[in-house]
């Protein structure tokens, strides 16, 4: 009977209840939209990190990453490459020769990381070809071609056809330089990365480094993300002499960003629900004060405090939860639409988005995994919101309430 009473009580003032349900639905929709947007952004960021930057796994000489000294090449690299290539979970493996050096033009210089790549494999592993905004891919025949990021090109006033000089130390520690011609300017979703990295063909770099056919890095892309831990363990066990890292270890800032964004999402949800709680409290207080006589009468007849509290709690929960499905449905429909067609944030500027490592088209994803948490927050809001009105109700003295 208490449940029936609670349900019917919320419909005594239909307009008031509908308004509060609508605000709960709107708040919930806003919260879900934020969660979906964050989830979409994080997923896109992780995908960019894996598919266009570092791959799932990277293999280096154990000492290479200490100083990026080019003498620490992967010993028996070709054998290692072949061994990894034929693992069933592996999709692509590509080698890179890497060195840090100086890029110089007639107008200035900048510190860069020079990546020597096998063009066709690199295009598949890091989508380098897709990122070209000006110029053309590497010519298989021509020598000393370089691809530079748009940010670096702007900074150094370079364009396709411009000449530049790359200076670095070779494997013996000698300073070497090479003149390169810009064949392409690329732009990824990570502007800081574009500013630091230049790409040349591995053969050109190895000639300058005097490192023969060796290389410093193997980038491994897997068939799916789920097999990452397993493959990493498998490789570590099989090749203990190498330093094998996952993208989480290579790009800890991305991993941290994903984790902290989850927390931010919940904080935003809590703030929205906290604001809504005042509306719920106000509505429930009005409902209680309007029914002072009735509550006094029920206490006079013998309803105890626990039942009275339960009545107010149930009314608040019904009121809150009635708006919940509407909010969730609206969130599901809208995020579903944008998940399919994408949310174009180019209005915010590609430069700005890419400086944080994000693309301009975001595909929000309905946060199914966070739905339980969202419902928990909503239920918590209802319980917290009912406390004050419920205390008001159970503290009423029947003799005074009946006089009203």
């Amino acid at each position: 009977m208490i449940v029936i009473m609670a349900w019917r009580n919320i419909w005594r003032n239909k307009m008031r209840s509908i308004v509060i349900m609508f605000s709960i639905a709107t708040g919930l929709f806003a919260g879900i939209a934020v969660l979906a947007l964050y989830k979409g952004m994080m997923k896109s960021r992780v995908r960019t990190v894996i598919d266009a930057e570092v791959g799932h796994l990277q293999v280096h000489h154990v000492d290479f990453k200490k100083d990026y000294d080019p003498k620490f090449v992967l010993e028996d690299g070709e054998k290692l490459l072949q061994a990894i290539r034929f693992l069933p979970a592996v999709k692509i493996v590509t080698p890179r020769s890497i060195t840090s050096g100086m890029l110089a033009t007639t107008t200035g210089s900048a510190g860069v990381q020079v990546n020597g790549v096998l063009p066709e494999r690199e295009y598949a592993a890091s989508r380098l070809k897709e990122k070209i905004v000006e110029g053309r891919p590497f010519d298989p025949v021509k020598k000393n071609e370089v691809m530079i990021g748009k940010k670096l090109a702007t900074k150094m006033k370079l364009k396709t056809g411009s000449k530049l000089v790359l200076t670095f130390t070779d494997t013996s520690g000698n300073i070497v330089s090479g003149a390169f011609r810009v064949v392409a300017v690329f732009q990824s979703d990570n502007a800081p990365l574009d500013e630091r990295n230049v790409y040349v063909k591995i053969a050109d770099l190895n000639t300058l480094l005097t490192s023969g056919n060796s290389f410093h890095e193997l980038v491994v892309l897997l068939e799916n993300d789920e097999s990452l831990e397993k493959v990493q363990q498998q490789l570590k066990k099989k090749f203990p002499a190498y330093h094998i890292e996952s993208w989480r270890e290579i790009s800890p800032e991305t991993d941290l960003l994903v984790k902290t964004t989850d927390q931010y999402s919940y904080i935003i949800m809590l703030i929205i629900m906290f604001a809504l709680a005042f509306g719920i409290i106000n509505t429930m207080l009005m409902a209680i004060l309007e029914r002072t006589r009735e509550i006094g009468m029920m206490v006079a007849l013998g309803i105890n405090r626990v039942k009275l509290f339960t009545l107010v709690l149930l009314e608040t929960i019904f009121l809150t939860l009635s708006g919940t499905p509407i909010g969730i449905l609206a969130g599901w429909l809208v995020t579903g639409y944008f998940n399919k067609y994408g949310l174009n944030l180019s209005g915010m500027g590609r430069e700005m988005m890419s400086s944080f490592g994000f693309g301009t088209i975001i595909y929000p994803e309905f946060p199914v995994d966070k739905l339980a948490g969202v419902l928990f927050i909503v239920a918590g809001t209802a319980i917290v919101s009912c406390l004050f009105p419920a205390m008001k109700a159970i503290r009423m003295l029947p003799v005074e309430a009946l006089r009203r």
Partner: protein, 240 residues
């Protein structure tokens, strides 16, 4: 006969530390089972305050109220809630039915609080609605009932818990004469046939005339405690 209400030296004092006002002043009241008693007096004479104290809704500042052997002035708030539920039926002036429940649910509600099982509840509801002659209004909400019908449902609700007695605060005040007469007929019948004890506070001459006993309060004191006119007439007729 056995004692249902036994109030001794009961006083209710407002502003005891500044200018004390005695709403009820040293009242003695003794009610036996089956009495049909009217508490009368001008406005502000202390009728409702005395009823509230007897009903355990308010505590006296002095004196004791013993109901069915229990001193209600010594009970805690929670014990009082339970005591009221199981021992006292209330009929209020302005009906006070729960508007979101049907007539049947209003009566059933009390029995649910008492944890009476469904079969017994249905049995009692049917009997009570037969007694108040509203069997066809079981599933109507209070808003669809007339004032008289609502007050009859309130009487059924008061009796649903099988109380020791029923306290009715001005039960006919908001009713037209036909509805009031109808309600009084029902209560008188229940009193006569089921030996249910009723204590009313009232201004209504019709209630006073039908009461078996009339207690008059003035300024919080009992100034007269007599058999009613009708009872006196009946007694005189019997003597002659």
């Amino acid at each position: 006969m056995n004692t249902v209400i036994d109030a001794h030296n009961v006083s209710k004092i407002y502003n005891p530390k500044t200018v004390p006002v005695y709403a009820v002043n040293n009242v003695h009241l003794h009610l036996e089972r089956g009495e049909f008693t009217a508490l009368v007096g001008p406005s502000g004479s202390g009728k409702t305050t005395l009823l509230n104290m007897i009903g355990g809704l308010d505590k006296p500042d002095e004196g004791t109220i013993i109901i069915n052997g229990v001193d209600v002035t010594q009970l805690s708030a929670n014990q009082l809630i339970n005591f009221r539920l199981n021992n006292i039926g209330f009929v209020f002036q302005s009906f006070n039915l729960i508007p979101v429940l049907t007539a049947k649910e209003n009566v059933e509600f009390i029995m649910q609080l008492q944890k009476v099982d469904k079969a017994e509840r249905d049995k009692r509801v049917n009997l009570l609605f037969k007694q108040i002659d509203l069997e066809d209004k079981l599933n109507e909400r209070p808003s669809r009932l007339s004032g008289g019908q609502q007050q009859r449902v309130a009487v059924a609700r008061a009796l649903a818990s099988k109380p020791q007695f029923v306290l009715a605060d001005e039960p006919t005040a908001n009713l037209d004469s036909k509805s009031a007469s109808n309600l009084l007929d029902i209560m008188a019948k229940l009193n006569k046939e089921e030996n249910i004890t009723f204590l009313f506070s009232t201004h209504d001459q019709r209630v006073i005339e039908r009461a078996g006993r009339v207690i008059t309060l003035v300024d919080g004191r009992v100034v007269k405690d007599t058999a009613s006119v009708s009872t006196r007439h009946e007694e005189e007729a019997t003597i002659k």
